[in-house]
């Protein structure tokens, strides 16, 4: 328990928590003690000595940043002697600094410059003559940043930021004495382990480390700084966009929840696509086979005629719509409202089907609510973290850094269960390398150990759950030895992992698509829930079942009802009371029949049962499994309309393409993976005639003769709040500064940090016994390798945005296949050479990456690259419950190209 104590600084009485950092306390209370090496997010070094103060009873001066507050502490922060010391120290720093503030990019945003000014150290009053320093040349080798030693004050904030916040340790000091500099890797950024996250840029107080930008970008006072939400993944990092003349010139992390200033390379350097010349700026209408520019009126007239013809001729269920996990909550809500109320069908879905449909289905069945149970920040304090099927370092980089911090600084034990040797393995106490697609087996095995060794939380099972006896019967059969046969995980290791997970004070389970994208996806998710409940690891801080959602707003798109069986807030279309409520609110007759899912829509299109398709910002031509089939399906449609910001692979096949505004050109909200609704602000104007999707949807409604009129996105959110209990208290005005986590049922509700505290959303937690079922397609003589697909750090989804960002392409700009070096040698494949990967559905040619990251007999292909599209290969076999395809396992052959 923290204890409040009282201290005095320069006669000002302050009440604070015992042990707080004195410098931070002073600054928080408006006492601006100078200091350059201190930063609240990294450890204290006490190197610059600028923050020295007098503390009564201590014999010598003390750097405030190294002092912890104790009761009755009396501090003098400013007197003549202290000030003259500080002057001298700054003077010394300036004597070694390349003081060309006149032409320095950081002028106006530089802590050193501010101090020089504050202490009046102009050329006449400085006492130390500039010393000649022999310094190496600036390191300009990184694609995203530059380091200039002549501007470096050796405060070490970058070194500690890279090591402590990011867990990468790329930076260090080199040489010594006057020649000391900061270096990356073996003296060069380009070949170092740096992945371009920019944390060092964020923390550098001067211009020594800066973003690599065109020459002389506008300076701090020339730009508007606008906080918004990053659109590159489900973490929902808050970023500050610096804008001048309708252009985003720089991006910094905003020092607030959930990322506190951190980002990954995509958030900081990946938004240059916004102003690319090939943005869509006018509607396009297909005339004589080619897409040609048209006016909005023309385009809407064609849409109206063609869609209504299909609806009137064949019925509303021959139309379908794909909403988008990239669009805002407001847009997803409106989209499903439009499909349901004005088209009259529940055929609305989006690509969550391909990533977390099984999460929504599984967790809803077990707990009553299908989302991350706990919050991102809690991970840092969990005593055990089990990560499975998530290459967190690449897919949710900011969350991965929290996991590393939990291990390095808070004594957490990390268990990684993954067929690939992912980065987190380095931090793991135990790594279980299961055979792809055998997840139910190892989880049952862990539960078997937990039960047989008496490690289960019996009172939790008794009081909070149901169905335990059935679970027990199934789990009893999965002895570690049997599980070893199925999964190849050594029985002893499985036992070790089970003990760690079950006995830690708090255990948090984190998973992602390695769990969900299987024909047994729902079973896998149910197993994670079983595991958490059997050990009582749910309903408390730093525990829980935590699916990391991939796309920026995939949580929100699900929450707002862009799913075929539920309205917003998971209210079932089949429930008559719900149906009546929405019929009244929307003034339309609604269908109680659940609609088609993504893959079913494609199948129906191929069979001619779905004739018209409306796609908002999705790109199934790269994202969906078995692309050859998707292509056939889309070509078989009578009418396809796509709204997007670029002419995507899917838009190329459309009859009408509509230009949409990007996330930086519209207002609204995204819901991140921890259920936090975060504001999106309009940062720049959309190019040409592009308009936000919510306005496009209103135009659609109008074409269908249904009235939809909103002044702005906030008004749409108010309607959502009225109709959606879990969003009941969410309004734009309440989202500053930290957003709100649902459930937030009323205007005075503070939001919910973790779910299922005293009671599960469904009452009792339900155990679901599940048996192991092998993947739909296993290696055989003809197709002897296991193929798995996934994401990488530098790109996002189908690459429409990320592959137009130079910084990201500088790191990776082509697809590849990871193959174990032994397999490569056996097949005569050279690292960096070409290879053909073939499955029963298709073939791609790509580059070989020989690496021990994959196990022998396995191949991994990232799916972002259309020219080597992994989804030409993947299997569209479906999980029967959630209809999610098995993107993680297929049988393939490989051969030298």
């Amino acid at each position: 328990m923290t204890r409040k104590v009282a201290i005095e600084i320069d006669g000002q009485r302050i009440e604070v928590e015992q042990g707080a950092n004195l410098l931070q306390v002073a600054r928080d209370n408006g006492i601006d003690i100078p200091g350059l090496c201190y930063h609240p997010r990294v450890s204290v070094s006490g190197a610059c000595r600028l923050c020295v103060v007098r503390i009564a009873g201590r014999p010598s001066l003390v750097p405030a940043c190294t002092a912890e507050v104790v009761n009755g502490m009396e501090v003098i922060a400013f007197d003549e002697e202290l000030d003259s010391m500080r002057r001298m120290l700054i003077d010394l720093l300036l004597s070694e600094h390349n003081c060309d503030c006149m032409t320095c990019e950081s002028a106006g945003n530089c802590e050193l410059q501010d101090l020089a000014y504050r202490y009046g150290l102009d050329n006449r009053t400085r006492r130390f003559i500039a010393r000649e320093k022999v310094l190496p040349n600036p390191d300009l080798s990184s694609p995203v940043l530059n380091y200039d030693p002549s501007k470096c004050i050796l405060c070490g904030r970058c070194v500690r930021a890279c090591d402590e916040i990011q867990g990468k340790g790329v930076l260090s000091y080199a040489y010594r004495g006057l020649e000391t500099v900061v270096v990356a890797g073996l003296g060069e950024w380009e070949t170092s382990e740096c992945d371009g996250c920019g944390e060092c840029v964020q923390l550098c107080p001067t211009s020594a480390i800066l973003e690599k930008l065109p020459l002389r970008p506008p300076r701090s006072w020339e730009v508007k700084k606008i906080q918004t939400t990053c659109s590159y993944c489900g973490v929902g990092c808050q970023i500050e966009m610096w804008v001048k003349d309708n252009e985003v010139v720089k991006v910094r992390g905003a020092e607030v929840i959930p990322n506190y200033g951190s980002t990954c390379i995509k958030g900081r350097f990946g938004h240059t696509y916004l102003t690319k010349d090939d943005r869509l700026t006018t509607p396009l209408v297909r005339k004589n086979g080619t897409l040609e520019p048209a006016t909005w009126d023309e385009a809407m007239a064609v849409i109206k005629e063609r869609l209504l013809k299909i609806k009137d001729g064949h019925g509303p269920d021959t139309l379908a719509g794909l909403a988008s996990a990239k669009c805002t909550n407001e847009e997803n809500y409106l989209f499903q409202k439009f499909m349901r109320a004005s088209v009259g069908t529940n055929n609305v879905d989006h690509c969550a089907r391909l990533c977390h449909a099984s999460t929504v289905a599984g967790l809803a069945a077990a707990f009553g609510s299908g989302a991350m149970t706990n919050s991102i920040a809690e991970l840092e304090y969990a005593k055990c973290i089990l990560v499975t099927g998530s290459n967190t370092t690449e897919t949710h980089p900011v969350i991965a850094s929290l996991i590393k911090r939990a291990v390095r600084y808070n004594g957490a034990k990390l268990i990684v269960v993954d067929p690939r040797r992912i980065d987190l393995v380095k931090y793991a106490a135990v790594w279980l390398r299961q055979k792809n697609g055998t997840d139910v087996a190892w989880m049952n095995g862990m539960m078997n150990v937990i039960l047989s060794e008496g490690l289960a939380d019996e009172s939790f099972i008794r009081e909070r759950t149901e169905g335990f006896d059935e679970l027990k019967k199934v789990v009893e059969q999965y002895t570690p030895e049997k599980v070893e046969e199925i999964t190849t995980i050594p029985a002893e290791k499985l036992r070790e992992a089970a003990r760690i997970y079950a006995t830690a004070e708090t255990s948090s389970l984190v998973y992602s698509m390695g769990i969900t994208q299987h024909i047994t996806g729902t079973d896998n998710v149910l197993s994670t829930a079983n595991l958490a409940m059997i050990t009582g690891n749910i309903g408390k801080a730093s525990t829980g079942v935590n699916p990391l959602r991939g796309q920026n707003n995939v949580q929100g798109a699900c929450d707002l009802g862009a799913l075929p069986n539920v309205y917003s807030g998971y209210q079932k279309v089949a429930d008559p009371a719900v149906q009546e409520k929405f019929e009244q609110a929307w003034g339309a007759k609604l269908s109680p029949k659940a609609g088609l899912t993504v893959v079913e829509i494609m199948n129906a299109a191929a069979e001619g049962k779905v004739k018209g398709l409306i796609i908002m910002g999705e790109n199934p031509m790269v994202s969906d499994p078995n692309l050859n089939h998707v292509e056939e399906a889309l070509k078989n449609l009578d009418f396809l309309v796509v709204s997007d910001i670029f002419l995507s692979e899917t838009a190329r096949l459309a009859d009408v393409v509509l230009p949409a505004a990007s996330f930086a050109e519209t207002e609204g909200t995204f819901t991140n993976t921890e259920r936090r609704v975060l504001l999106l602000r309009k940062v720049i104007n959309a190019p040409g005639e592009a308009v936000p999707d919510w306005q496009i949807i209103c135009k659609f409604a109008e074409a269908f003769g249904y009235q939809m009129h909103y002044e702005n996105a906030a008004q749409i959110m108010d309607e959502i709040a009225r109709l959606t209990p879990i969003y009941g208290g969410i309004h734009h005005a309440r989202l500053v500064p930290d957003g709100l986590q649902w459930p937030c049922p009323s205007d005075d509700h503070p939001g919910t940090v973790y779910l299922h505290k005293e009671k599960f959303s469904r009452g009792l937690g339900r155990f679901h016994p599940v048996d192991f079922i092998p993947p739909a397609e296993l290696p055989d003589e003809e197709y002897p390798f296991i193929l798995s697909t996934g994401r990488i750090l530098f790109h996002y989804h189908t690459g429409t945005m990320s592959r137009r960002a130079e910084a990201l392409n500088a790191f990776v700009n082509e697809g590849y296949a990871e193959i174990h070096p032994n397999d490569a040698a056996r097949l005569g494949l050279k690292d960096e050479g070409r290879v053909k990967v073939r499955t029963r559905r298709g073939e791609i040619e790509t580059k070989v990456k020989a690496t021990e990251k994959v196990a022998e007999g396995s191949v991994f292909v990232p799916f972002h690259f259309v020219e080597a599209a992994a989804n030409r290969l993947t299997n569209d076999a479906l999980d029967p419950k959630a209809k999610i395809p098995e993107l993680k396992v297929a049988a393939c052959q490989i051969e030298k190209a």
């Binding site: 090591d163 990468k168 340790g169 790329v170 260090s172 040489y175 010594r176 073996l186």
Partner: protein
């Protein structure tokens, strides 16, 4: 040849696997064996001990003892201690750098000379002092340094 060195390296480094605190020790052993620390050795050390590359680089550049290029046929050690410095060692260094086209710690492309700086040989009476292999040259001036270098031409 390359392969031989790789296996030799692995043998040297392996005992220190996962022991970052032994970084200096292992670097010293490799340098003893190979005469310098090739880049691949630095990388291998970082990986096997589990330390970032930059820490290896930091240590290597901090101690003048470590070299990152192979030693030449002849090693020139120039003293830059106080006495030698006062008597013009800096100008001698300048001359050597110009003549050889290398900085201290480096080796000429033809592997003939390596250049190193030393703090004090303990024979300040002879300053400035320059030692080539085991031969001590005293009272060295830029001109004398050039002359000494020329005696090694062709050898």
């Amino acid at each position: 040849m390359v392969e031989k060195r790789t296996s030799q390296l692995a043998e040297l480094i392996e005992p220190y696997a996962g022991r970052p605190q032994e970084l200096i020790q292992v670097l010293r052993e490799i340098q003893e064996e190979l005469g310098y620390l090739p880049k691949e050795a630095q990388e291998e050390v970082a990986q096997t001990l589990g330390v970032p590359l930059s820490r290896v680089y930091g240590v290597i550049t901090f101690y003048h003892f470590f070299r990152t290029s192979p030693v030449g046929q002849h090693t020139i050690r120039l003293c830059l201690g106080t006495a030698c410095y006062v008597r013009g060692a800096a100008q001698v260094l300048q001359t050597l750098q110009e003549e050889l086209g290398i900085n201290p710690g480096e080796t000429t492309v033809d592997y003939k000379f390596s250049l190193e700086r030393v703090a004090c040989f303990g024979c300040c009476a002879l300053s400035p002092v320059m030692v080539v292999d085991n031969t001590v040259h005293s009272r060295v001036t830029p001109a004398k340094a050039r002359e000494i270098l020329s005696t090694y031409q062709g050898s």
